[in-house]
């Protein structure tokens, strides 16, 4: 009897889990709600820490997607249930699927920056998110952001939607700091006459080569780091922004005018993740991301036999970490399916 697995989510985690399961001889169904695979990987231009083109990672994943994987795109899930023999899914278009194992890889969304009313996202003309900046970088349209602007200064704001009780997200999204440093360097590389300031509470340069990027940003590119969380932004008559914060290292309040504000938005669990979790009865943490069966030793399993987790459903993670996690998930799935025979 063929061992089958359904993977919900065709982003980095879903794709890599599918690729590995196929290699292990498992029959795989991959369900993705968008019209194409890749998830958030499609949003990034160059990846930290080595600044390589994200398309290379996309290509690697695409290469693994061969006909052995039964792919359902534009597929939204209507209902999902576990009858103890199989996992059953009915899609909104009526298609029915079932399998012996289920992998939840429905990922995350970025924080909606409009919730930070005092930053003026969606109100002031020159406030964008880090995700939107990647789009400009990808299309080589960075210069357009500064066309006709009176100010040659950019402010990058860390911790937008993370570490913030007011928006209900106490956790750290971990990867925004290095994204900010990367984008600061990218702007300085392409437009040397633009001054870049990063406004942070703490700098989380936790992974290999991250600290070296911070060093490079300061030494080579003259990016200025000011420790102070943005209190408020207001628009001037010429559409530049007046920002106010405390310069905590001098203990004085500070104000300055910038031409563009880039908000480093964090991760939030996707509504679909939470919906599926409640249909299955999976445990959410206080931060609303999903909980694995054990934080150290069973990081891809859940308390429901046959249901596995891969990728950012469990919390903020980068591309490299997600690929590794997906491979671990695939191994757990394969081991589970083998043990059932």
């Amino acid at each position: 009897m063929n061992k089958t697995a359904i993977i919900i989510g065709g982003g980095v985690a879903g794709m890599e889990t599918a690729i590995q399961l196929l290699r292990l001889g498992i029959e795989v169904y991959l369900i993705e709600k968008e019209s194409r695979l890749g998830g958030h990987l499609n949003s990034w231009d160059h990846l930290f820490p080595n600044r390589r083109d994200s398309k290379e990672v996309s290509e690697y994943l695409q290469l693994g997607m061969n006909e052995g994987i039964s792919l359902h795109l534009n597929a939204e899930i209507d209902t999902l249930w576990n009858d103890k023999k199989k996992f059953n899914i009915k899609l909104k278009d009526g298609t029915r699927l079932n399998s012996d194992a289920l992998v939840i890889a429905t990922g995350y969304e970025v924080f909606d920056a409009r919730k930070k009313e005092e930053y003026g996202y969606g109100i002031y003309d020159n406030v964008i998110t880090s995700v939107e900046l990647e789009e400009f970088l990808r299309n080589n349209e960075l210069k357009r952001l500064f066309e006709g602007k009176t100010s040659k200064r950019v402010g990058i704001i860390h911790c937008v939607g993370s570490r913030d009780e007011k928006v209900g997200n106490l956790y750290c999204s971990k990867l925004c700091c290095v994204t900010g440093v990367k984008q600061a360097i990218e702007i300085r590389e392409r437009m040397p006459d633009i001054e870049v300031f990063c406004f942070y509470m703490d700098l989380r340069m936790f992974d290999r080569y991250f600290e070296e990027m911070y060093f490079e940003a300061q030494e080579k590119w003259g990016v200025q780091f000011i420790r102070g969380r943005l209190s408020e932004a207001a628009e001037n008559q010429d559409h530049t922004l007046l920002i106010k914060l405390e310069d905590t290292l001098t203990g004085l309040p500070l104000k300055m005018n910038v031409g563009l504000l880039i908000l480093l938005v964090g991760f939030v669990p996707s509504p679909e993740t939470r919906r599926l979790a409640s249909m299955l009865g999976l445990k959410e943490g206080d931060d609303r991301f999903l909980c694995p069966a054990d934080e150290h030793t069973l990081t891809n399993s859940t308390k429901i036999p046959g249901v596995f987790l891969a990728g950012t459903v469990k919390g903020p993670e980068g591309i490299a970490g997600t690929i590794t996690d997906a491979r671990a998930a695939a191994l757990q799935v394969a081991a589970y399916l083998t043990s059932r025979e």
């Binding site: 409009r114 009313e117 003026g120 969606g122 109100i123 003309d125 207001a234 559409h239």
Partner: protein, 360 residues
């Protein structure tokens, strides 16, 4: 500036404002600075809008000033607030409306405290009964008077004789709006539009034809604050707060400032005089300063009431340039005459801030 972004936020911060049958409590000190305002509010509600609005002359202060100046303990404040509610209940009313913004903040704070800590409500009932023999019901709606003018702004606009348009240029008047801190900074959900982009005064200006100015120090406090202000030597802090706002709004060339708190217009009006005396600097057109109005005064002007009936003659920053911009007629002869028509004399002329009439 994308107005849709603000509109989205305004949709999030809607609040219940009662329709009719109001129990009105006055401000302690507003009558001194803006003598016509409360009378105008009552006149608008009764004559123009045919609403039932009642006030009991034996109502007291809410003790907001004392509470915020650290003189009155919170338990006392709660009991005084309870007595106000008792008067409301005895008169058969459920909708409470306040003239002062600090009162509004205090009533909201007391009701929230009672909601989250019911034992404090019980204690307050005991205190009130022991002290006065009164009992009370909590109001079903607490609104500030500016909320009510906001709610009926369309009706006022329909009955209005004047629009907020500069008749010389044909352009809408540029209006700075300034809400009192106690209106929505403490409880954003209790203010129309929330704390970041409050809509209560913006809505009035939009409806009556003006253009709202969004300037960087829009959110900054005028500096009133109570505690430091009462000590003369500390007023430097207060005046500096207002000065920061004036410096920030100056490049936008506002025609007037609209406020909804008793303290804010007093400050924003008087400090322009004090700053001009201390530093020689004036804001606004040609040394005339930027006129500051309360929402009742503005509503009254829109409805065509006589400016001197509204009490505009006691404003430190002369109001006449604004009246001329809108095209509201006024009689300069009547400015310094009392009800009987007697001349009450002239105030001392400021050194730098220009004054009407220029010749004393």
């Amino acid at each position: 500036m994308k107005i849709e972004g603000k509109q989205r936020i305004w949709m999030d911060y809607q609040k219940e404002i009662a329709d009719d049958h109001f129990f009105y409590v006055r401000s302690c000190v507003r009558q001194n600075f803006f003598p016509g305002s409360e009378k105008t509010f009552l006149r608008i509600l009764q004559s123009e809008l045919q609403k039932d609005i009642y006030e009991n002359p034996s109502h007291t202060t809410c003790s907001g000033i004392g509470y915020h100046a650290d003189i009155v303990p919170f338990e006392t404040s709660m009991t005084m607030v309870a007595r106000q509610f008792a008067l409301m209940t005895e008169a058969g009313y459920e909708n409470f409306t306040t003239s002062c913004i600090t009162s509004f903040g205090l009533y909201s704070e007391v009701l929230e405290t009672w909601h989250h800590f019911p034992e404090t409500e019980q204690k307050t009932r005991d205190f009130l009964y022991k002290a006065t023999g009164r009992t009370f019901k909590k109001p079903s709606n607490v609104s500030h008077a500016s909320d009510i003018i906001f709610k009926f702004r369309k009706k006022i606009s329909e009955k209005g004789k004047y629009r907020l348009i500069n008749r010389q240029t044909g352009q809408p008047l540029r209006v700075v709006e300034h809400i009192g801190c106690h209106y929505s900074k403490m409880f954003p959900s209790k203010g129309v539009g929330g704390a970041e982009y409050p809509y209560v005064l913006t809505g009035m200006i939009d409806e009556w034809g003006g253009e709202v100015i969004d300037y960087p120090e829009r959110r900054h406090c005028c500096g009133f604050g109570f505690r430091q202000y009462f000590v003369q030597a500390n007023r430097g802090f207060s005046i500096s707060c207002s000065k920061k706002k004036f410096e920030s709004m100056e490049p936008y060339k506002p025609d007037m400032i609209l406020t909804n708190c008793p303290g804010c217009p007093m400050f924003l009006d008087r400090w322009q005089y004090a700053i001009s005396e201390m530093e020689g600097k004036t804001y606004g057109d040609n040394g005339y300063g930027i006129p500051v109005l309360t929402y009742e005064e503005l509503a009254g002007l829109v409805l065509g009431y006589d400016p001197w009936d509204l009490g505009l003659q006691v404003h430190q920053v002369p109001i006449e340039p604004l009246l001329e911009k809108i095209g509201i007629p006024y009689d300069p002869e009547m400015k310094f005459r009392n009800i009987s028509g007697q001349d009450i004399g002239r105030p001392e002329s400021p050194s730098f801030l220009k004054f009407y009439p220029e010749k004393v």
